[in-house]
Symmetry: C2
Subunit: 227 residues, 2 copies
DNA sequence: CAGGAAAAAATTTGATCATATTCTGTCCGC
DNA sequence: GCGGACAGAATATGATCAAATTTTTTCCTG
């Protein structure tokens, strides 16, 4: 619908001046990450040109990028859809996330300024609000923002990029799980992470992150149907 | 130049029937992986439309995918070029490759059939030929084929995908290193990998893979200028 | 005569291209 | 050295063609 909204990450950049294909990409990325698109749902180019009000070239480019990200899959017969995860997929992602993201959180431990730790804590408090309100979309957004903010201090853009790629893959499925279970049983080891950050104990930060990841991903593995 | 060539992976699929943007993507991917493109070199859309003989839409889509892969970078002011790696980039990739690819090789150990191990050995023999001939391009191609073939038996497409993404990033830089040092000092722990595979000793396969990776990447780190 | 399968037409969607517009970087004159 | 015009390249649109899915029609069988 509205292209200019819903990316709080790029702080002050002129959104209007962004090229259209970039805006389409960011819009779709948000919709995928935060579960506005259902797994298995087909994504059509012409549907997007209509709903987003841009030509087909920007849409095509955005879709190609998202396919490359693994956020969308090309179904052979020129159909594009949101991926459905198999048990094996989830198991692989657990391994990859544990490898990459625990390292990212360890690396952030020494470098993150105290003020940013406070910022993380505020994020986590908002996140608790979302959980008690049962706002799944808000939970997904803030959970992503929390991890992103933490990892951004690791000074490791390539690893962050790999992590982001993984998040794009399991975003839609995570939404389903949350929708099924409600927000109550959602993982939140964030308080452990924050206190370990305050202690500047990289090992403990890594362990807490691993628990957070493992908890969330295991829930996905046990909930989703195995195709 | 020639679109139909140079992908030995997709075995029998009709190459002619592939859409043009896919062919352009594969072509550029090969050129990047095997160092036909120099880091820092600008990549222009119109230059590619001329040299590949296709319209600009397929070229644009292929470029977007490759940017998403990290194989090309968008330099802000509408310029696209082959990335130049910093020391930090390489260090991150060492970590990521060690995490992902050693796991892939460990997972392959139990599953790879004996006949395929023989096939790997043949690949490695050809690779030795390339090294003694001083054929850098051939070395890069066969080295990639060797790892790809090994990992393909791990039954872990998501991890393979992450690994491929990393290879695309360091391909051009690896070419530079090889060009500077010649092929003599190139890493080849493949014989250790093969004998460990024959023993079905996953741990040893992982260690040999780690040594192979560490050797190659360390050479890159020590050779490239730090920008 | 009814039900269903196969074939054919129609519609929807994707792929490519040619063209117009906008932006960036450069070069020349002041 | 600075400012404006120019050239070149990238972005975006709409038109056109091809492919695939869906719907309709037809024909055969029970």
């Amino acid at each position: 619908m509205d292209l200019i909204k819903n990316n709080a990450d790029t702080a002050l950049t002129d959104r209007e001046k962004q090229p259209a294909h970039e805006q389409v990409y960011q819009t779709l990325k948000s919709q995928i990450l935060f579960g506005d698109l259902v797994p298995g749902q087909p994504v059509t180019i012409q549907g997007l040109t209509d709903s987003l009000g841009v030509g087909m070239t920007p849409v095509r480019e955005a879709i190609r990028r998202l396919i490359s990200d693994g956020a969308l899959i090309f179904q052979g017969n020129r159909r594009v859809s949101v991926p459905l995860l198999s048990a094996s997929d989830i198991e692989q992602m657990i391994f990859a996330r544990l490898s990459i993201e625990t390292e990212l959180s360890r690396r952030s431990t020494d470098k993150i300024p105290a003020a940013e730790i406070d910022q993380l804590e505020r994020l986590d408090q908002q996140l608790d609000g979302m959980i008690s309100d049962g706002d799944v979309g808000g939970y997904l957004r803030l959970n992503h923002a929390f991890h992103q903010a933490l990892y951004s201090h690791a000074d490791a853009p390539i690893l962050v990029d790999l992590a982001e790629r993984l998040w794009l893959k399991f975003g839609p499925s995570l939404r389903i799980v949350c929708g099924r279970f409600g927000t109550q049983s959602l993982p939140d080891r964030h308080k452990d992470i924050i206190s370990a950050l305050r202690d500047r104990d990289a090992e403990k930060v890594g362990i807490a992150t691993a628990q957070d990841i493992d908890q969330g991903m295991s829930m996905m593995r046990d909930t989703l149907p195995n195709p």
